[in-house]
Symmetry: C2
Subunit: 233 residues, 2 copies
DNA sequence: GACAACCCTCGAACACTGTGCGAGTGGATT
DNA sequence: AATCCACTCGCACAGTGTTCGAGGGTTGTC
């Protein structure tokens, strides 16, 4: 409970990349590669150092600690999200495209799910997306704090929907799990929770990937409808 | 990438608590205490063992590994969420009360934010809540898979909204951070992202705790409105 | 050319972590 | 009395993030 101060990579000057040697960008790029290949648990300072044929502790010259490194790779994720031009397509279409883009980016970088909402998103890429979202909602007709509320609501939905998707996908991806055991557990559970049983039986028929997509669309339309009603008449 | 199989504490028989010695319940209770006092990083098997005046590895008789322990404490959190009786108050009121309850429970157990969506929620308490939510939305008029979509949408919003709240609160809680530095960073940023500046200036005036509450209400009403529109006429 | 100032690297060490193994203890059952 | 079983736990292993301080290499200055 010591009085740690708020800190973020983005609030201090980066080390100059003067020399032809390693740069912060190179390190971040290698880190992202490592994350994509091995997941979050596969990223350790020693392994990252090895990948760059460097000593583990060399990295600490470019980055104050691992959290800073994570902030950097985190912003890299935000950089992959594309915000459509609101002036061309209208805010609802723009919001919808953006939402699907964000979902897709997260799904293609499963490790990012563990960073979202936990790390401050103050990097240039994150700020760019936030800025564009704000423009989007203002163009829709929101004013004042309502604009921020709308942003928060939409992103909460997107992240809240996608993060558990990843956990699910990680568990059931290439890995088989004992169907019999699962079934019997479900049945056992269903006695006590009859509504759940109905749910299990219905989703069992469908392709889970499709179900998740449809669920996302369903929720997205709902959220956008709800936001639209908040617009001043 | 080895073929790990899906597993969960809830899918196997618990160890009998036959003896008068330590029980699984006692361990979970101590773990929750430790988490409340020290946060997620304060929970290690050794420290938990010490708190119970036991060797660290003794716990492994009651629990297969730390993840299982986390699943158990996770379900404890779900147990604190109260689902109002839909038949009495109507589904919108019930959903609203539930949402605020879930938010409050998470905020009062900040460590739970790191577990949500990452761990399977198959414990009895989580199933109970899910079951009640399902009844709630069915009573509202949803049918088939739409019921599940509605649940997913609402919980996504609640979690997606509350989890970042915790990260924020943790950073700015008792800890002061350099206001001047922050300001200058914001100003610097604002040149590139004009919309963000407006946002910063507005939220600066208000009490952040109130802002977050209002934002939650705003989003909640929006989501419920949107869901209501999905009901079959 | 000599010397100092810097940028940068990295090995050793510290204090931790989760967990497998196998020996050991005490009480109940046969 | 012997056997079994529930239960405890010290040791050890393979890792983790991070600090420190000693060095090497390049650059700039007298």
């Amino acid at each position: 409970m010591a009085g740690k101060t708020f800190s973020s990579v983005w609030l201090r000057e980066p080390r100059k990349a003067a020399s032809p040697g390693r740069t912060r960008e190179e390190i971040v790029r290698a880190a992202v590669e490592l994350l994509n290949e091995e997941g979050l648990s596969g990223l350790s300072m020693r392994r990252l150092g090895a990948k760059l044929s460097a000593g583990a502790t060399s990295l600490y010259w470019y980055v104050a600690n691992k959290d800073e490194l994570l902030e950097l790779v985190y912003d890299e994720v935000w950089g992959e999200m594309t915000v459509p031009d609101t002036d061309e397509v209208g805010w609802r279409e723009a919001a919808s495209v953006l939402a699907h883009s964000m979902r897709q980016v997260i799904l293609s970088h499963p490790w990012s799910a563990d960073l979202i909402g936990r790390l401050p998103a103050l990097g240039p890429n994150a700020l760019h997306v936030a800025n564009e979202m704000r423009r989007m909602f203002k163009q829709a007709g929101f004013t004042g704090l309502d604009t921020d509320y709308a942003i928060a609501t939409l992103t909460a939905f997107i992240f809240g929907m996608t993060i558990p998707e990843i956990a699910w996908a990680a568990k059931s991806g290439t890995e088989r799990f004992d169907v019999e055991q699962m079934k019997s557990a479900v049945i056992q559970v269903s006695e006590r929770y009859p509504h759940m049983r109905e749910s299990f039986e219905m989703t069992e028929m469908e392709d889970p990937r499709v179900v998740r997509e449809v669920a996302f669309d369903f929720g997205l339309v709902s959220v956008l409808d709800g936001l639209e009603r908040r617009l001043p008449t």
